[in-house]
């Protein structure tokens, strides 16, 4: 699987990682190599095999419907790069 720079840009865009032209050019063969290598998985006959869902037999436990958390706004906002009036802030979004 050869990966072109346009693909690298699209993937980086999806992952929200800004990349320069140089980085895209460097990453394209690097990712291509890794993808080539993982593609050997295609050789494995997995007909009738279920994808793994839980490595160790265990089932999902459910929680009771009780309020046990919240009311910790100071803790929630403590590490925010920018918080105002009890809110996180981001650059203005136009929907």
């Amino acid at each position: 699987m050869s990966v072109d720079t346009a693909t690298v840009r699209r993937i980086a865009g999806l992952a929200r990682i800004a990349i320069t032209d140089d980085e895209a050019a460097r990453l394209a063969p690097e990712l291509g190599n890794i993808l080539d290598w993982i593609e050997q998985l295609g050789e494995v006959d997995t007909a009738g095999v279920e994808p793994m869902t839980a490595v160790i037999p265990n089932h999902l436990r459910l929680r009771d419907d009780v309020v046990t958390d919240g009311g910790v706004r100071d803790k929630v906002l403590a590490n925010a790069p920018q918080a105002e009036h009890g809110f996180f802030t981001v650059p203005k979004v136009i929907e």
Binding site: R16, L27, N33, Q40, L41, M52, T53, V55, N58, V76
Partner: protein, 494 residues
């Protein structure tokens, strides 16, 4: 009298309990050793006061005639992937620089509840992605070991728990926490001649531990020997309702049931672990390990794990896929780095922040993970990898029909020099070839030192066990440890 810093966890616990020395003396000795070991770059944050406070609590409890807690007076190093309340936690990434959690991870809290104290936060590969501790934003960790060729090339301590391995091997911590996603406890333990166990998936809570790949991440101890690992794992493990994948089972008394006699036990030797280009010394050590286990009373059986060679490529789909999603939360809004140039919009802020905050290896894995999950590729990559994972787990299940534990080498080589493999991601990934299959199957697995290679560097043997059979793993490792008589230690140069 031996220096207090030469003592392991059991020796410190017993000494404090018996009044041979105070916990405060121990904490002070290790605090001093940590402070003097800056060239190793093992610690990102030093927390001597935390260690002293726990020590004083132990000393007071003893003075009051109370029964001491299981790790009372033992100071340890905490991998900086565990969130520690009030102590900066970064996962060795720029993107979390300045982040101070308002909460304590379950594993670290369990250790404090057991009486342990914290010497500091240990360096690691950024977001635990790496096998050499060369991806930390805060610089490489240096192994305390040197080759005996006089070249003094700085060596990799392994990864991702490289700060942990380096600190324990250098005797600046008697034990340290690690996390293991594809071998991150076992490979670094093997590289520096210490022991480390990854328990069954679900034994240690993942709550409060910064996630790399959720279906694989497991915490575990790294320490001087098997007994120390058993003590520390007992303290770390346990059911946690806050982690939906936590196993609701009591924690066994692993230390109390240590037993190096393997009479009646069958040890499987998987033929697929004999890989091309494996150094003869590793093959020789493996054979030696087989002989030791036979000597301990075990029956040796050949087994086949036919899908072994597909474990690594499956892992490099599953782990990056999970990571690409787990790391989406680092976006500059609620904590950590924010890069917001004038006039940038929200999506530009995300892209800039993440470009600046993540290191190259982290970006590489996020991109791989994003790619394999993207439209049109999901089934061919991710679903196929999870099916292969089922086959790998089945291989192990078949093996358990004829054996109780498996013995393999831990890593395909001894420690390499820093920089030696960092240019070639694939070569680096191959380091985990022996540790990844058991991670994919969620099995308990341990590395124990077996000997040294021609250049005097440690080599490890890996014991893999059935689900929940940490005891079987610890016992086989103990049988090796007793016979290997591994006493090599790095000469102090830092």
């Amino acid at each position: 009298m031996t220096a207090l810093t030469d003592l392991g966890i059991a020796a410190i616990r017993n000494g404090v309990r018996d009044g041979d020395f105070s916990a405060r003396e121990v904490a002070e000795a290790f605090n001093a050793a940590v402070a003097a070991a800056k060239p190793l770059n093992a610690f990102l944050v030093e927390t001597p006061d935390h260690a002293l406070a726990a020590a004083d609590a132990a000393d007071q409890a003893r003075a009051a005639g109370e029964t001491l807690r299981p790790m009372a007076g033992v100071p340890i190093g905490m991998k900086d992937l565990f969130c520690t309340k009030g102590v900066p936690t970064t996962a060795a990434s720029h993107i979390l620089e300045g982040f101070t959690p308002e909460y304590e991870s379950t594993v670290s809290q369990n250790l404090w509840n057991a009486g342990a104290g914290m010497l500091g936060k240990l360096n690691l590969d950024q977001f635990a992605m790496g096998s050499s501790n060369e991806t930390s934003y805060f610089g490489n960790v240096i192994s305390p070991w040197r080759r005996n060729d006089g070249g003094n090339a700085p060596l990799a301590p392994g990864g991702s728990s490289g700060g942990s391995s380096s600190a324990v091997a250098a005797r600046i911590a008697p034990g340290a926490t690690g996390t293991d996603t594809g071998g991150s406890i076992r490979q670094p333990a093997a590289f520096v001649g210490i022991s480390g166990i990854k328990p069954t998936y679900g034994r240690c809570s993942r709550w409060g531990t910064i996630a790399f790949a959720s279906s694989l991440d497991q915490a575990g101890p790294m320490a001087r020997d098997v007994r120390d690992c058993a003590i520390m794992l007992e303290a770390m493990a346990g059911f946690d309702a806050k982690d939906a994948t936590s196993l609701d089972l009591p924690v066994p008394n692993w230390e109390g049931q240590l037993n190096a006699s393997l009479a009646g036990k069958r040890v499987g030797i998987p033929k697929e672990y004999r890989v091309d280009g494996m150094p003869a010394e590793i093959e020789a050590l493996w054979q030696q390990g087989i002989a030791w286990l036979k000597d301990a009373g075990a029956e040796i059986v050949d087994v086949s794990l036919p899908h072994t060679r597909y474990a690594l490529p499956a892992y490099y789909i599953i782990a990056p896929a999970e990571a690409s999603s787990n790391l989406a939360r680092y976006d500059g809004v609620r904590y950590g780095l924010r890069d917001l140039p004038d006039g940038a919009n929200l999506q530009e802020m995300y892209a800039r922040t993440r470009a600046k905050g993540f290191g190259d290896e982290v970006k590489r894995r996020i991109l791989i993970g994003t790619y394999v999950l993207s439209a049109g590729f999901y089934d061919a990559y991710y679903t196929q990898a999870q099916k292969v994972r089922t086959l790998i787990a089945r291989d192990f299940e078949r093996a358990w029909e004829v054996c109780d534990v498996l013995l393999t080498p831990t890593a395909p080589s001894a420690a390499f020099a820093l920089g030696e493999k960092s240019a070639d991601p694939l070569a680096m990934y191959l380091n985990d070839v022996f540790t990844v299959p058991s991670s994919l199957a969620g099995l308990p697995a341990m590395s124990v030192p077996g000997g040294v290679d021609a250049s005097g560097l440690p080599l490890g043997l890996q014991v893999i066990g059935k689900p929940l059979d940490e005891q079987g793993v610890l016992n086989a490792a103990l049988a090796i440890e007793e016979r290997a008589g591994f006493t090599a230690r790095p000469a102090k140069w830092w």
